[in-house]
């Protein structure tokens, strides 16, 4: 068969039933094979959307997201999406067309060195030189993308290779000598961790995105309940533990909650699980803090251990497996005093009445109205943090966002991908007027595929997050006014979508009810005061 047909066969072997893509001259051979297959191809409206959609799809389905584009501009348009997935450890397999292999390097029409361009934010990449190697490469790519610390893998396939004939044999397994991720934690280290936990007085769990990536939520819950240790989370760790749990502390970091950050500074033992302890997480915590705090760091990527923060007890491996082992070695602790101390740092916010919609209240209200299985996809900016801070976590809920790269324009396409992965679940995209316009091309994809998602658009006429930063630092703003915003409701209507504009809190409930009952996509545009604060 043709190698392009083999690519599709490999996808079927990997149980891929949905791909996101955009065709072009250098990938038509694959598209022809795709046409003849049962795989659902979702035509995005911009390639960046393909990568974000595949990311949303992966986060919700637990499978590897797949996108396919042509060479040159098709491939380079993917870059931001690939980098976003890389920073958040999302498994993707990205297939790009390339110019004929004998022409590579001559600056052909639509030639771009995409393996080179994405080198620093792909987990691995291949430029296929032998058609016969394709099945092995595909098998390896799916294996590498999904195992260990997940991430995007790119396969660049020259057009003549796509047309070459090969004997198709899909390898049964992979053997990559340079890639053997450690999954099971070292038992000696786990014992040390258990001992440190037993000795500690003010232990604090900090759950990161790795907990949800390894589906370790149930094991984390057992760990928390068995030991009684309070648990905070990072932005990416949102959803690791239900907010209703008595041990739940909330989000730490620069935009976290005061009680969570206070717990971080006062703890004598920090247990990081599946977190890379990034600058935004560590945020304000001082170096001095480290002198009095011991750190247990559980992560599947050994390079994360000790990278940002020194660690006394590293445990390398998969969060789920390590927690299973650790749960057998830990005992119940008396943490009641410590937990009430943490709770005492809570600052009770009073709800401000504004002329416009209070976005924090809007998210709280929506959160209450959504089912336990709802998925919320937040864009970047103030809207992201309003969402992160006010969307209640329940077991089974999901919160998706571009945490590492902080990519505006993520929410619309990622929500589309999420909806395709779980059509029966409620999916809400929370987005600002800036981020909306970065990806509004995907309204086409959402509408054409009749995706019943709710778009909650916070219109503050500003790049609000930057406005706030400038106001704080320079007492003046520059380049943040979104003058002449379009009529977003009309715009959505032009795409055949329904929508409602809301200017007062009192109108929110009715609007959300309408949105949630709507079969197709529905936009709720909330008019927000330009000076609304993030926290």
């Amino acid at each position: 068969m043709k190698a392009s047909e083999a690519i599709i066969k490999c996808l079927i072997e990997e149980k891929v039933n949905t791909v996101f893509g955009y065709p072009g001259g250098a990938i038509v051979s694959v598209y022809e094979a795709l046409r003849k297959s049962k795989i659902h191809h979702v035509l995005v409206r911009h390639e960046q959307g393909a990568a974000h959609s595949a990311s949303g799809y992966a986060r919700v389905s637990g499978k590897t997201g797949v996108c396919i584009t042509t060479s040159g501009p098709g491939a380079t348009n993917l870059i931001t999406g690939i980098a976003s997935a890389y920073m958040d450890s999302i498994p993707l397999v990205v297939i790009t067309g390339q110019v004929r292999s004998d022409m590579i390097g001559r600056d052909m029409f639509q030639e771009a060195d995409i393996t080179g361009a994405t080198e620093s934010f792909t987990k691995h990449s291949y430029l296929v030189k032998e058609a016969n190697e394709l099945p092995r490469i595909m098998k390896e790519a799916f294996y590498i993308a999904a195992t260990g610390r997940p991430g995007p893998v790119l396969i660049d396939v020259p057009s003549d290779i796509q047309d070459a004939r090969i004997d198709f044999v899909y390898p049964e397994w992979v053997d990559i000598r340079g890639y053997k991720p450690t999954l099971k934690g070292h038992i000696g280290q786990i014992k040390k961790a258990a001992k440190a936990i037993a000795e500690s007085e003010r232990p604090l769990i900090v759950a990161g995105g790795g907990v949800t990536l390894s589906h370790a939520e149930p094991e984390l819950l057992s760990f928390v309940e068995k030991t009684g240790i309070p648990a905070a989370h990072t932005l990416m760790g949102k959803g690791a533990l239900p907010s209703g749990n008595a041990h739940y502390v909330g989000m730490i970091g620069t935009h976290g909650f005061p009680e969570a950050n206070a717990a971080l500074s006062k703890s004598d033992l920090l247990i990081f699980i599946g977190a890379r302890i990034a600058d935004r997480t560590w945020g304000g915590a001082s170096e001095k803090l480290l002198e009095n705090t011991r750190i247990i760091h559980i992560d599947v990527d050994p390079a994360e251990i000790g990278k940002n923060v020194g660690t006394q007890i590293p445990v390398v491996g998969d969060a789920k497996q390590i927690l299973l082992d650790l749960n057998e070695k830990v005992e119940s602790k008396n943490t009641a005093g410590w937990i009430s101390e943490i709770q005492s740092f809570k600052k009770s916010g009073t709800r401000k009445e504004t002329q416009a919609v209070n976005p924090k209240y809007a998210i709280k209200l929506l959160s209450d109205m959504l089912s336990d299985e709802a998925i919320l996809v937040a864009d970047v900016g103030q809207n992201q943090l309003w969402a992160a801070r006010n969307f209640e976590d329940r077991m089974g809920r999901k919160f998706l966002t571009s945490g590492g790269l902080g990519t505006m324009g993520y929410a619309l396409p990622a929500a589309a991908g999420a909806k395709l992965a779980a059509p029966e679940r409620q999916v809400v995209a929370v987005v600002g007027d800036g981020g909306f316009q970065m990806s509004m091309s995907e309204l086409g994809t959402i509408s054409a595929n009749k995706m019943g998602i709710v778009i909650l658009l916070f219109n503050n006429g500003r790049l609000g997050m930057v406005r706030e930063l400038q106001d704080q630092v320079y007492k003046a703003t520059s380049g943040v006014d979104l003058d002449k915003n379009p009529d977003f409701i009309k715009l959505c209507e032009a795409y055949g979508m329904k929508g409602m504009r809301v200017s007062r809190d009192a109108e929110l409930e009715a609007a959300f009810q309408k949105a949630l009952r709507s079969k197709g996509p529905f936009v709720v545009e909330c008019m927000v005061d330009a000076h609304e604060s993030t926290l």
């Binding site: 430029l127 000598r177 340079g178 990527d301 390079a303 000790g306 990278k307």
Partner: protein, 168 residues
């Protein structure tokens, strides 16, 4: 800052060198030299990388290298248990009068003259870095036209093999 010598086994494939060197520049690691060539197994290449950095940086370098799929093994060589060699080709200006004294120095250093022209001599020398530096310093007054160096290659003494290193 300490110098460290890393020996790295990698898949002998295109793109590997770019991945390794890209890693160093992008993460801001200082690299003194990098040399690479095929090993006893033609599918595997071995790199010798001389890096500078404190323990924390060195540990990160090792871990980040190990993260690359094409990297099979990373070992830091013990300076006292290893042999280091570098090859340098040095083109020196000469005159009739100076030629004899240059040849004398070349002999003392156990280097080799590989090309003679009317007004230049090209010397090939192998040795550890200090030896090469010393030779270059002595040649400087004669006038150095060009130098090309391979960067350090290193291997451990005795029956040790880096393939058999335990991952740390």
């Amino acid at each position: 800052m300490n110098r460290h010598i890393l020996s790295v086994l990698v898949e002998n494939q295109s793109g590997v060198l770019s991945r390794v060197s890209g890693l160093f520049s992008r993460r801001g690691y200082n690299i003194d030299s990098l040399s690479v060539g095929e090993t006893e197994n033609p599918k595997i290449s071995r790199m010798t990388i001389v890096v500078q950095g404190d323990d924390h940086i060195l540990e990160q370098i090792k871990k980040q290298l190990n993260k690359l799929i094409d990297v099979i093994k990373v070992a830091e060589l013990d300076v006292h248990q290893s042999v280091f060699r570098e090859l340098a080709l040095i083109k020196v200006k000469t005159t009739m009068a100076a030629r004899a004294s240059i040849i004398e120095i070349v002999d003392i250093f156990r280097a080799k003259i590989v090309d003679v022209a009317n007004d230049t001599l090209t010397v090939e020398m192998t040795g550890d870095e200090e030896k090469i530096e010393a030779f270059i310093n002595i040649m400087a007054p004669y006038g150095i036209v060009e130098i090309v160096r391979t960067g350090l290659s290193a291997i451990e003494r005795g029956n040790k093999e880096i393939k058999k290193y335990e991952e740390d």
